[in-house]
C-alpha cells in the first residue's frame, strides 16, 4: 500500500489531502492513476517526492512508500 499526500493549491482539486493506493509499481503509474481520477491536476505545476525526497525521474514504489505531490512552495 502506498500513501499519497497532496498539498497547497492541488488540494483545491482533490477530495482528500491524503489517500492510499495499491497496485502502482512506480511514480509514472501513480501519476497516471492520479490524473485519471483528478484530470485538473495534469495541467498544474508540481514536484514529486518519495519518502520525503524530491525525485528527478520515474521511481520504483514499494509497500509503505510515501509519495507527495508538491506544488510551488510559498513559505516565508
Amino acid at each position: 500500500m502506498i500513501t499519497v499526500k497532496v498539498f497547497g493549491r492541488l488540494t483545491d482539486y482533490t477530495i482528500k489531502n491524503e489517500f492510499n493506493l495499491t497496485g502502482v509499481k512506480d511514480t509514472d503509474q501513480l501519476l497516471k492513476t492520479l490524473f485519471n481520477k483528478y484530470p485538473m491536476l495534469e495541467g498544474l505545476k508540481f514536484k514529486v517526492s518519495v519518502d520525503r525526497k524530491i525525485i528527478n525521474e520515474n521511481t520504483a514504489l514499494h509497500n509503505g512508500s510515501e509519495v507527495a505531490i508538491l506544488p510551488p512552495f510559498s513559505g516565508g
Binding site: G8, F46, E57, L70, P72, F73, S74, G75, G76
Partner: protein, 155 residues
C-alpha cells in the same frame, strides 16, 4: 522519527515577545559579536479580488523538518557560525504579523549576515510550505514564491 529533527514550526504568528526572548537567550554566549535577524511579515497586498487580510500556512511538516535540518547542517559547514535558528508559522497569520524568523550569530558579523540571507533564500525555495492568501469576503489566492520551480521530476 520526528524527534530526530528540531521543530521549526510555531502555531500562529511569531510574537515580539518570542523574538525578544530568543535574543536574550544569547547574552550568555560571550564569544558572539554579531546577530543577523530576518523577519518575514505578512503584507496586506491588494489583489484584483480585494486586500489580503492574512496568510494561512500549511506544510508537509516531516519533510520540512528534514529539509530544515539539512539546510542548517550545510550552513554550519559553510560559515563559522555560533548559532542558527529557524522558526516558521503554521496556520493563520494576519497582515502585519510575523510568519518567519531566521536568526544567526557569529563572532564576526560577515558570517552572520551571509548565513542569514542564504538561510532565508533556501527556506523560501526548498521548504515544502504553502501560503494561502486570505482575501476579504472569504476569497483566497495561493501564494507562489518567485523561484525556479521546475516541473515534475524536477527537470
Amino acid at each position: 522519527m520526528q524527534g530526530k529533527f528540531k521543530n521549526i514550526f510555531i502555531q500562529g504568528p511569531i510574537t515580539h515577545g518570542f523574538i525578544a526572548e530568543s535574543i536574550e537567550n544569547h547574552c550568555h554566549k560571550k564569544n558572539i559579536g554579531g546577530h543577523s535577524i530576518f523577519l518575514g511579515q505578512v503584507r496586506a497586498d491588494e489583489k484584483d479580488e480585494g486586500n489580503v487580510t492574512a496568510i494561512e500556512y500549511t506544510a508537509y511538516e516531516q519533510m520540512a523538518l528534514e529539509k530544515a535540518h539539512e539546510i542548517r547542517e550545510d550552513i554550519f559547514q559553510k560559515y563559522p557560525l555560533i548559532c542558527a535558528h529557524i522558526y516558521h508559522s503554521l496556520g493563520v497569520v494576519k497582515s502585519g504579523q510575523i510568519s518567519l524568523f531566521v536568526f544567526t550569530s557569529s563572532e564576526h558579523r560577515k558570517a552572520a549576515f551571509d548565513a542569514c540571507e542564504e538561510l532565508v533564500e533556501r527556506i523560501k525555495a526548498e521548504l515544502p510550505v504553502w501560503g494561502k492568501e486570505l482575501i476579504e469576503g472569504e476569497k483566497f489566492a495561493w501564494k507562489e514564491n518567485i523561484s525556479n520551480f521546475n516541473d515534475k521530476y524536477n527537470k
